[in-house]
């Protein structure tokens, strides 16, 4: 293979040596002695990974521009302690390989201050063990997944969740079902992984018995004929109320197939799969959702009497090209809203450490659009823990049952499900961090 001679060896070693010197001369960006990584006198950089293209992207791809819109609004009003907030969003196509690669770029090349709202249980798990923000002491604010495991402070010391966990959701849903449909046969469709295991744990905890439980492997919803087998099993068991605890594509597939097979139980949708825009983007007519029950922890997107919704809609008009104002936009802006307060609370010269400590110390007092309190403390990295139930209208809008938000809260452990008495404090002036 190699024809070795001295000159060749000489050339090879010169090339290797020069290459090595050149590569080693690439400057490892010098860490500023006073300023934290990602923080300059004029700017704070945050990074986000999520699917912006590809099959999993519908709906979620609206989040970055919504987050940016709120930050633009803050920046236009003087920023936070004179620094503007910028967001670098990277497309991971919902692929763990890309999530790891993109997170590496964010942390090691773009040198962001913190990660914001990275999406997906699998992606976050891959990033947590490969990139390991916990070991690097990089804050991971408000992961966009309800997997209860991420609230484990020991395993993920710098990670904060914001969505109520799937356990919380299942427990509250179970109580709702026991109250509303006491004698009905209940069916469950769930994703057979960490996501579904969380839900099963919650249902078990609440003591809800199912006539039939249909697990599906994540991704199986895309295989022709598979959704029909779910519907056959559910209708075969005579389920009159069916809980769909899956992702949007599975929820859409189940609803669409059931409509074709003329199976019409009372549908109850989990929060993950219940986003009307995402289901519509998958080609399922919104009408299929009509009269189904859904759950949320934020005000309804159409509720303009809510001061947060009104403000966010206004920001959406001015800074987000007046995008369709759906739950993704609302969630994105609300996350940005909470983030801005966390950065403000981290002090005039925020560090990664002071950011984490600020959320632990005063995160429970942060204002937000949420209808349940945030549960941040030195021992808890979990955000919201409650839901209200509503019914989908003909256009896919979720409206609260009985016209008012009746919020139930609980925890991911043995706590009881209780009706919340939480009164959301008034929004800070102009919706800016104070």
């Amino acid at each position: 293979m190699f024809g070795y001679n001295r000159r060749k060896l000489l050339v090879a070693s010169v090339v290797l040596a020069t290459g090595g010197l050149t590569l080693s001369a690439i400057p490892a960006q010098a860490f500023s002695p006073r300023m934290e990584v990602g923080v300059s006198s004029t700017e704070i950089k945050l990074g986000m990974t999520l699917p912006m293209t590809g099959t999993a992207s519908p709906g979620y791809n609206k989040i970055p521009s919504a987050v940016k819109a709120y930050f633009d609004y803050v920046n236009a009003n003087g920023g936070i302690n004179g620094r503007k907030i910028t967001l670098i969003a990277k497309d991971d196509q919902y692929v763990p390989t890309l999530a790891v690669a993109k997170t590496n770029e964010l942390l090691l090349r773009d040198k962001v201050f913190a990660l914001l709202s990275p999406l997906g249980t699998a992606n976050n798990k891959a990033v947590a063990s490969s990139v390991n923000p916990g070991r690097r002491r990089v804050p991971v604010l408000f992961v966009n997944t309800g997997f209860s495991g991420f609230a484990n402070k020991k395993a993920y010391p710098t990670t904060f969740t914001i969505l109520p966990s799937y356990i919380v959701e299942a427990k509250i849903m179970a109580e709702y079902i026991k109250d509303t449909f006491p004698d009905k046969k209940i069916g469950l469709l769930y994703q057979d992984d960490d996501f579904g295991d969380d839900a099963l744990a919650g249902f078990k905890q609440a003591g809800l018995n199912f006539a039939i439980k249909v697990p599906y492997a994540s991704g199986a919803q895309g295989i022709a004929g598979v959704p029909a087998t779910w519907i056959q099993k559910l209708s075969g068991a005579g389920a009159e109320v069916v809980v769909l605890f899956g992702v949007s594509s599975a929820t859409g597939a189940a609803l669409g197939t059931a409509a074709v097979l003329k199976y019409g139980p009372k549908w109850i949708l989990g929060s993950v799969g219940g986003d009307a825009t995402t289901i519509k983007a998958l080609g399922v007519p919104a009408g299929v959702l009509y009269n189904a029950t859904g759950a949320s922890f934020l005000p309804a997107t159409s509720d303009t009497t809510d001061e947060y919704v009104a403000l966010f809609q206004d920001i959406n008009k001015k800074y987000n090209n007046n995008a369709v104002f759906d739950n993704n936009v609302l969630v994105g802006m609300n996350t940005a809203f909470v983030t801005a307060q966390a950065i403000k609370a981290a002090g005039t010269n925020p560090t990664r450490r002071s950011l984490i400590m600020a959320i632990e110390k005063s995160g429970a007092k942060f204002a937000s659009a949420g209808l349940t309190p945030l549960n941040f403390s030195a021992t808890s990295h979990t955000g919201y823990a409650g839901y209200w139930f509503g019914t989908y209208g003909p256009t896919g809008d979720l409206k609260p049952n009985g016209g008012a938000y009746t919020v139930y809260t609980t925890d991911s452990a043995n706590g009881a499900v209780v009706k919340s008495t939480y009164k959301r404090p008034a929004m800070p002036t102009k919706g800016l961090p104070n």
Partner: protein, 333 residues
């Protein structure tokens, strides 16, 4: 000129020298480069497995991504269920992919040209979605494959990525060294004979089917190792980590390397690692939209593939070598 004899010892020495060089380099560059180095080493193994198959035994595979998936899943499963040490996990990955390759190779030996390409393509399309059917494989979410922190004896500043780089780099060096030796052995000569002319090879007493199957098995085993290395660098295996695009990138890498030149393998691997970076720079320069930026690496790789096939069909290394031979023939005339 004094020819240094290419003996086993000098070759081993050469590989050790490369190893030492990269080891020293990994201490000098920033962490992102170290991570990319680990990815590069993974590609080196994957592309060399394809070069062995295509360049040396004349078989085509469009489905090496699927064989990598088998290796990755086998490694992750053995780690998760038996808690096997990582080296054993890599070994199991190699064996599992090799076994799958042996079965596939038996069928492949009867096929050639477009039929073989089609069969392996079907494998790349179909195999990863099997994970969605069995819960033990973790569905779309996949399985964690966490090789753990570097040993504490390496010091507190020894990063996770350097650890990945060491493991991947060592694996790549050992496999290439072993492959070099294999290709110089009886088996390598047999494969080249088959690639050159099957009928002539058969007349010389070579069992075509058996030899081809063996080549497929060895190549699959190496692909399995690459899959386990990929799984290590992202700490997880999932169907989406082994898309069809991966199989095609590997093929592009092999063509860029020159399908019949193992030493060119670095060129292919380097291109595959560098392309997303270059695409990123271009996308930023022209302020491209997200969908353009996402597709740019694919476009670049494809364009490069077309250019290489048009201009240097045997790959740059082979071209360079051929021109050297021509030149030396001229000077000795």
């Amino acid at each position: 000129m004094h020819k240094i004899k290419s003996t086993n010892a000098t070759r081993l020495l050469f590989f050790v020298a490369i190893g030492v060089f990269f080891f020293l380099l990994s201490n000098r560059v920033d962490e992102l480069r170290v991570y990319q180095g680990a990815t590069l080493a993974m590609y080196v193994v994957a592309i060399s497995s394809l070069i062995l198959l295509t360049g040396y035994s004349g078989q085509v595979s469009l489905g090496h991504g699927a064989l990598m998936a088998i290796g990755g899943y086998a490694a992750a499963l053995s780690h998760e269920h038996f808690g096997a040490p990582i080296w054993i996990c890599f070994g199991i990955g190699v064996l599992a992919a090799g076994a799958a390759g042996a079965i596939l190779g038996t069928a492949a030996a009867r096929l050639s040209g477009p039929y073989l390409a089609g069969t392996t393509l079907a494998l790349a399309v179909g195999l990863p979605s099997i994970a969605n059917q069995f819960t033990i494989l973790g569905g779309e979410q996949g399985l964690l494959f966490d090789v753990g922190f570097p040993p504490e004896s390496l010091g507190p500043d020894f990063t996770q990525y350097k650890w990945y780089f060491w493991i991947a780099g060592l694996s790549a060096l050992i496999s290439i060294w072993w492959l070099q030796n294999l290709l110089r052995s009886r088996y390598g000569r047999t494969w080249r004979a088959i690639r050159g002319n099957e009928v002539a090879a058969e007349l010389c007493g070579i069992h075509i089917g058996r030899s081809k199957t063996l080549a497929f098995t060895v190549s699959s085993g190496l692909a399995g190792l690459a899959g386990a290395l990929l799984a290590m660098t992202i700490s997880t295996v999932s169907p989406s980590a082994f898309p069809l695009a991966l199989s095609f990138s590997l093929l592009t890498g092999a063509v860029l390397s020159g399908v019949s030149t193992l030493p060119g393998v670095m060129i292919g691997a380097l291109t595959l690692v560098a392309t997303p970076e270059i695409a990123d720079v271009i996308a930023n320069r022209i302020a491209a939209s997200e969908s353009v930026a996402t597709n740019l690496p694919g476009i670049l790789v494809s364009a490069l593939l077309i250019l290489v096939v048009l201009l240097v069909p045997n790959g740059p290394v082979e071209q360079w070598r051929a021109s050297r031979i021509r030149k030396s023939a001229n000077t000795h005339r």
